[in-house]
């Protein structure tokens, strides 16, 4: 009887030992490694046809469906980083009153209620938190052809949308022609903002003004 107990104990110990020494994929990621950078663009557009851009002076924050405009140190870092990358790609920063070819909106998304986000959900109410009037096209609707696969969300997402203002008067809509989405841990960090935005632009080599 004793040896039987010993046997079961040793089997249990081995079973626990085997399973506990397995590698947990999520536990073996740094915050940097946890992040993914997704870009999407309208391949029918030639981005060298656009020369000037303007960027909104604050960030829209979507917190479980409630929208507000904010500007903290991190938001400013992301806005500055996008300005720098756009200028490096040959686009000229102008005031939004000076008829820019491209408009850029940055949105922070928090969604803890459903745990799921898809770009189309985020986009459905876009006009609600980015009033088209801001870009001088009151009454127009935004239009985006993208739909992202759903990913479970842990911390949040940062979305950068590039708007086609140049053709808005002709098409009667504000088209989103490029989108960069950052997902993962520790996104909202002023120190890494420049590096994160750089990744989005580096993987989008077609963004060239000339």
């Amino acid at each position: 009887m004793k040896s039987k107990n010993g046997l079961w104990v040793s089997i249990m110990v081995l079973a626990v030992g085997f399973t506990s020494c397995s590698k947990d994929p999520l536990a073996n990621l740094t915050a940097e490694e946890s992040r993914i950078y997704i870009t999407n663009h309208d391949s029918t557009k030639n981005f060298s046809n656009y020369h000037t851009f303007s960027i909104s002076d604050s960030v829209a924050v979507l917190n479980n469906g409630e929208a507000s405009k904010q500007l903290n140190q991190t938001d400013q870092a992301f806005i500055d980083a996008v300005k720098t990358e756009m200028q490096n790609d040959g686009y000229t920063l102008v005031n939004k009153g000076a008829n820019p070819d491209l408009g850029i909106n940055i949105t922070r998304i928090y969604n803890t209620s459903t745990g799921i986000i898809s770009y189309s959900n985020y986009y459905d109410y876009y006009g609600g938190y980015w009033d088209p009037y801001y870009w001088g096209y009151g009454g127009y609707n935004y239009y985006s052809p993208y739909s992202y696969a759903t990913y479970s969300i842990r911390e949040g997402a940062l979305s950068i949308d590039m708007l086609n203002l140049k053709d808005a008067p002709a098409t009667n809509k504000i088209e989103v022609i490029w989108n960069g989405l950052i997902r993962g841990s520790g996104i909202f960090n002023a120190n890494t903002a420049a590096d994160q935005v750089n990744k989005l632009f580096t993987q989008s080599p077609y963004l060239k003004s000339k």
Binding site: S22, N40, S43
Partner: protein, 209 residues
């Protein structure tokens, strides 16, 4: 699938009849640590890294000094993280991500072992083994921290060889063993076909009363 089931059930039945017919005979148990090297599509399409996280246990019934048949199970965990790279998704989507692949395999095999030297008191006793059964498979893939796991089962077969070094003099079940196995596993999901791997194991054998 049906054929495999029939074969399995037959092996099961033979084993069970054997057990009940001669209950006084000796059972033995083997416990070993296992290192596994993925080969073929498993290595090329999924995880190239050798797994040092695994083990096997087997309880078997000794029909005669040369042959035993038993039930073997264990655990092996494979893991590999690939540095940041660009991946094309549907449409015009591009994603930059660190890719992590992981695989857990729990085999459940009927395994026969043949000792050609039988009752010999030789210091070193070679053996060959063969087994078949199923693998419980847990596939995991993550882009950054996003992804998940997927469980499945697949047919598994194994061929092995090694040596046993008995403790003390005279014929005994107790000893240590060192061996190697070739493991075949049917699998055809997520761009990976077959989970074949070569295992190297070391462990102990002891008789159960």
């Amino acid at each position: 699938m049906k054929k495999r089931f029939v074969i399995l059930m037959t092996v099961c039945a033979v084993c069970f009849i054997g057990l009940s017919a001669s209950a006084q005979e000796k059972f033995k148990m083997e416990l070993s640590y296992n290192v596994s090297v993925p080969v073929g599509s498993f290595k090329n399409d999924y995880i190239g890294k050798t797994s040092f996280r695994g083990g096997t246990g087997m309880i078997s019934y000794t029909f005669n000094p040369k042959f035993s048949l038993g039930l073997s199970s264990g655990y092996q965990n494979y893991y590999q993280k690939y540095g940041r790279q660009l991946y094309k998704l549907d449409g015009n989507q591009t994603v930059s991500a660190v890719l992590t692949n992981s695989m857990d395999i729990v085999p459940i095999l009927f395994r026969g072992t043949f000792y050609p030297l039988g009752t010999s008191t030789s210091m070193v006793q070679p053996y060959v083994s063969a087994g078949a059964g199923v693998n419980l498979i847990n596939y995991g893939q993550y882009l950054g921290e996003f992804g998940g796991t997927e469980s499945s089962t697949a047919f598994a077969a194994q061929a092995g060889a090694g040596i046993k070094i008995p403790f003390g003099k005279g014929p005994t079940q107790n000893g240590i063993k060192i061996g190697a196995t070739y493991n075949y596993s049917n699998y055809n999901n997520n761009d990976v076909s077959k989970l074949n791997n070569v295992g190297i194991n070391a462990g102990v054998i002891f008789g159960l009363k």
